[in-house]
Symmetry: C2
Subunit: 289 residues, 2 copies
């Protein structure tokens, strides 16, 4: 099939965008579009501009035998701020407060569009170049962890709370959940994580950090190392978490009926944070409204 130049460019954008962090050789495109290498190279220059002008990440060229091009998704500072501010407004809606000080959030965190944006923000703020997989614990973190794994082009591993014998030999552990201060169990099939793997942990909520600490310990049992951690919401108290190095998108404090929710940009990568401190944004004004 014959593609015009404009169509080829659209098609290359679609293919790269659907497959973040996957390397495509020049040969793949010359074949698919029945076009010369020089033609595809020119197309790729336009494609690179598209992603950069939209501030949706970078298309980079990798040289060598395993070379080609790949698309690295990255969210812009402006996009992050707008998205997180909107989300904070939704979260702080009074009707979300449940008895016991819990918040009803599953309509938001299960939403595919929101989960997808969260995944891209995690991928923009966690170094995953060396990572082998994304690990989460069921259930509420799964949508955002899957979208993170998609943006990073990594497999997803889900830790179960019960022991599923139907998954073969399984390693189980107990941990103390900060939510309930109860001893809970987690389990994972032996073959789900290979020894010496480097993993990224993703979870939806962190209070004291007990769950993330438990997941880290479980990874040690597999001989795997945690090289990055992302949580969607962390609470302001306790300030001293069991986990030190993490990014959390939103900070939360519930004081009776009073909910304080704000973007937690200080845990973001330097490039986002510095701009935030020096920049022209008016997040604090919006919060004070």
């Amino acid at each position: 099939m014959k593609f015009k130049r404009t169509e080829r460019i659209g098609a290359i954008v679609k293919i790269l965008s659907d497959n973040p962090n996957k390397i495509f050789t020049l040969g793949y495109f010359t074949n698919k579009f029945n076009a010369a290498k020089s033609t595809i190279s020119e197309d790729l220059i336009v494609v690179k501009n598209v992603f950069e002008k939209l501030e949706l990440g970078k298309v980079i060229t990798i040289s060598g035998a395993a070379g080609g091009v790949k698309y690295i998704p990255k969210t812009s500072k402006a996009e992050n701020e707008e998205f997180l501010m909107e989300l904070c407004q939704k979260i702080s809606d009074e009707s979300r407060v449940l008895s016991g000080g819990f918040l009803y959030l599953i309509d938001l965190i299960y939403d595919p569009t929101i989960a997808s944006k969260i995944g891209k923000i995690f991928a923009s703020n966690i170094d995953y170049a060396e990572a082998d997989c994304v690990v989460t614990m069921e259930t509420k973190g799964i949508p955002m962890a899957l979208m993170t794994a998609k943006a990073m082009n990594l497999p997803l591993v889900i830790i179960r709370k019960d022991i599923k014998v139907s998954e073969g030999p399984t390693l189980s552990m107990t941990y103390v959940s900060g939510n309930t201060s109860k001893v809970e169990s987690m389990s994972l099939p032996r073959r789900a994580v290979k020894p010496n793997s480097k993993v990224i942990l993703i979870d939806d909520f962190m209070r004291g950090g007990g769950t993330i600490k438990g997941m880290t310990d479980l990874m040690s049992e597999f001989g795997a190392e945690v090289i990055g951690t992302g949580v969607f919401i962390s609470t302001m108290k306790p300030e001293d978490k069991m986990v030190k190095d993490y990014i959390s998108l939103i900070q939360l404090d519930v004081n009776g009926d009073n909910i304080i929710v704000e973007p937690n940009l200080k845990t973001f990568k330097d490039e986002y944070q510095k701009e935030f401190v020096e920049g022209d944004c008016d997040i604090e004004e919006i919060i004070e409204d």
Copy 2:
């Protein structure tokens, strides 16, 4: 910011592709690209060609006050067949057989790329024009259900197996799981599904259909109606399922060490099925290999 024609086309492809089934007005694009309506209209003709030539779905124009353009993802017959045959080969690997006749599949069904393709195939074979949400039951079906919801631009609802009081007033029920013939429970917060909703059910595995039947009953309790059902794998036996109207992507029979796995194209939409019967594909040959 100024975009050249080729860049605009790439950018429109990216925006539509990232937001399936979302309507964008012409004004959105004229604003974003600082271009005339006639210019954007011309661009959209090229964009439509891109999706059709790649066989990745359709861009349609909606007239009227709420009008604009939207992208409806759709997988092609050739893509479905290639993807499902590859998957069947992976599934039938002997090393996946666990004691008790179970199969180790979580590395496949949690994979973001695979889950994403499964979601697009479901979206191509289930009528969701009237649907309000996608409903699944934890845990293994969540990744494919999320990707289905993303392709359909619908919210995702996850039924829990335990009762989570932290989600507010919750409706719980028991059902008989075909896997274990045990009575199990499922629960869902009252506010997760609105009365008179129309829902799509997605699950990873169906033997007798007890789980899907239970999910359907739970939806009745919410005053909601199931208008489509998709399962990833269904077993050949029992032939007579509790559920009649569903699409299943793969059919499975485990007979001791002997695993028969094949694409279940007869449950696909007519357009796929007829082509399959009449067509030039060689699926049966591949299976007999």
